[in-house]
């Protein structure tokens, strides 16, 4: 698979990531990303036919527990790191 990484691709990646990039960064990242993605293309030559993907080194068995409610933290603890709150809820700019 071959892909050219340019300014447009960097803008797309930034949008997907909810990040803003300056014009200077667009140029910097385009050059760096092109080199990195080119390097990653080493995987395209490996025969992976029939190989099951390995997403975790441990056998992922879903561990279940009884669905019972408990108070892990107080409201105060959960709000203590909020950049803005009204003491009851996290607050954000008006959305409607």
């Amino acid at each position: 698979m071959s892909i050219e990484i340019g300014i447009e691709e960097v803008r797309h990646m930034a949008a997907l990531s909810r990040l803003a990039v300056t014009e200077e960064e667009e140029r910097l990242f385009a050059g760096q990303f092109a080199a990195i993605v080119e390097y990653m293309n080493v995987l395209q030559d490996i025969d992976v036919n029939g190989v099951e993907p390995l997403y975790s080194p441990v056998d992922q068995e879903s561990v279940t527990r009884p669905d019972t409610a408990f108070h892990a933290r107080t409201r105060e603890e959960l709000l203590q790191n909020a950049p803005e709150s009204d003491e009851q809820y996290f607050t954000v700019p008006r959305i409607v």
Partner: protein, 487 residues
């Protein structure tokens, strides 16, 4: 230099239990050492001098407790691990004011064992880097030569242990972040098997690769810290329920290296390795062979694909994990955002550093529609091939013996603006994170050209830390002592 702060942790723990020395004396000697070395090192972020002195007085008043193996022992903790009451920033502006509402599993384990936390250790932002130059606060310097980096991402932990600021530190290792700084600073570092130590309360970078482990000045100290932090935790779904063996007693299970089968992966000695690292490694091989180790060359043919595999998976997981930093519930919020999307974008763009943003964007790319199969899925397939190769060679060997890094610690600023060049430096450490295996880095000598510490690593079978540490303990005894940095 106070001799006390360079004693081994095992020795100090014993002397504390015997009341041969008070907790306050030990803590004070480390705090003095911190005062003396920090202006040069910058190994630490939040410091806890007052809290540590108060705790020392309390412990001295109540007296030694034999059930607590780290009773009175001063430690530092990498700043990616949550510590209630001590700010935890992960080296990022994003979490500059973050005050954890709870302790990580490993923090609780250290405190329950009687350890005294002196400070949080500096690191590359969100553990992304190999030099600690990506810290949003300041870079850490190498205690052997401040012009050099300490390695990373647990560079603050390694520098603080090597400089005698503490007796042990906890780091995290996603692609080498414990073993490589341990090698660069001349200390011992262990990345345990994935699942051996709970990740609960550890700020996530790449969840299928991250693992917490100790940095110490000896293999025995390392075994004692692992003993405390290993074990099952139901709050981490990947935490293993396997029983934890007695690692300290286990150190005696190998009577030297006689008959120990060590495999050297030939792909780790190819192009890119510096002559001084090759020399130190060759010296280790000869010494081990002389002691009766049975050494053979083994092959891990897909090693050349490991760097690409690792970075694709790590970046993908990072882009997903770091989506939580949106300026709403915790962390930095950009001022004067008028609507929600603008708040997300500006908070993330202003709060996250360049390398972190780079990895998030590349991670989003390899997961995106049209590229998912070619990059993310394919990398996960190659990951299985790499793991199976390790499993196969480890059937014929007790452990693998390999260099930790192709080079010794480099000068600050060497790889600025060339992220790929820096990624390539992780070639020898990251493949075992892909496979989930344990790796132990120990100091093996000083480089002839750089004069800097150079380490070797032993790679073991999954959940066989007991034997890995025993082999490491035997190897440690026949390696030349590099001493302590003169600062």
């Amino acid at each position: 230099m106070s001799e006390l702060c360079y004693a081994s942790m095992s020795d100090v723990a014993k002397r504390l239990q015997q009341k041969d020395v008070s907790v306050l004396e030990v803590v004070q000697s480390c705090l003095d050492r911190i005062e003396k070395t920090e202006p040069v090192l910058h190994a630490l972020l939040a410091r806890n001098a007052e809290g540590a002195i108060t705790k020392a007085r309390e412990l001295d008043a109540s007296g030694p407790d034999r059930s607590k193996p780290l009773w009175g022992v001063p430690v530092t903790i990498k700043d990616v691990i949550l510590t209630k009451g001590l700010p935890t920033t992960a080296g990022s502006k994003m979490l500059e004011k973050f005050s954890p509402p709870y302790n990580a599993f490993v923090t609780d384990k250290l405190l329950d064992a009687g350890a005294v936390v002196l400070a949080k250790a500096n690191m590359d932002e969100f553990a992304m880097g190999s030099s600690t130059e990506n810290s949003a606060y300041y870079p850490t310097n190498n205690p052997w030569n401040p012009k050099k980096v300490p390695g990373g991402s647990s560079g603050g932990s390694a520098a603080s242990v090597a400089a005698g600021q503490c007796f042990a530190s906890l780091g995290t290792d996603t692609g080498g972040s414990i073993r490589q700084p341990a090698s660069f600073c001349g200390c011992v570092g262990l990345k345990p098997t994935y699942g051996r130590v709970s990740r609960y309360g550890v700020i996530a970078y790449a969840s299928s690769l991250d693992q917490v482990g100790p940095l110490t000045r000896s293999v025995e100290d390392c075994a004692r810290v692992l003993q405390v932090i290993a074990g099952h935790d139901e709050r981490d779904q990947t935490s293993s329920p396997r029983p934890v063996p007695d690692y300290v007693t286990g150190l005696g299970r190998r009577k030297g290296l006689d008959g120990v089968r060590l495999g050297i992966p030939q792909e780790f000695l190819g192009e890119g390795i510096s002559s001084e690292v090759r020399e130190v490694f060759e010296d280790v091989r000869i010494r081990a062979e002389k002691e009766g180790a049975r050494i053979s060359l083994v092959s891990l043919p897909h090693t050349k694909a490991a760097i690409a595999t690792y970075y694709i998976l790590a970046m993908a997981e990072a882009s997903s994990n770091l989506a939580r930093y949106d300026g709403v519930r915790f962390g930095f919020r950009a001022s004067e955002s008028r609507e929600l999307l603008d708040l997300y974008v500006r908070s993330r763009s202003e709060g996250l550093g360049e390398e972190v943003r780079r990895r998030i964007m590349l991670g989003a790319f390899v997961l995106s529609s049209g590229y998912y199969d070619a990059y993310f899925k394919r990398a996960a397939q190659v990951r299985r091939i790499i793991r199976d190769e390790f499993t196969r060679v480890l059937q014929e060997c007790d452990a693998l013996l390999a260099p930790v890094s192709p080079v010794a610690a480099w000068d600050h600023g060497s790889n600025a603006n060339d992220p790929l060049a820096q990624y390539l430096m992780d070639a020898y450490t990251l493949s075992l994170n892909l496979a989930g295996l344990p790796g132990l880095s120990l100091p093996a000598g000083l480089g002839k050209e750089s004069g800097m510490p150079i380490g070797v690593q032993l790679i073991g079978k999954a959940f066989f830390e007991e034997d890995l540490l025993a082999v490491g303990h035997a190897l440690e005894r026949i390696l030349p002592s590099i001493g302590n940095p003169s600062m």
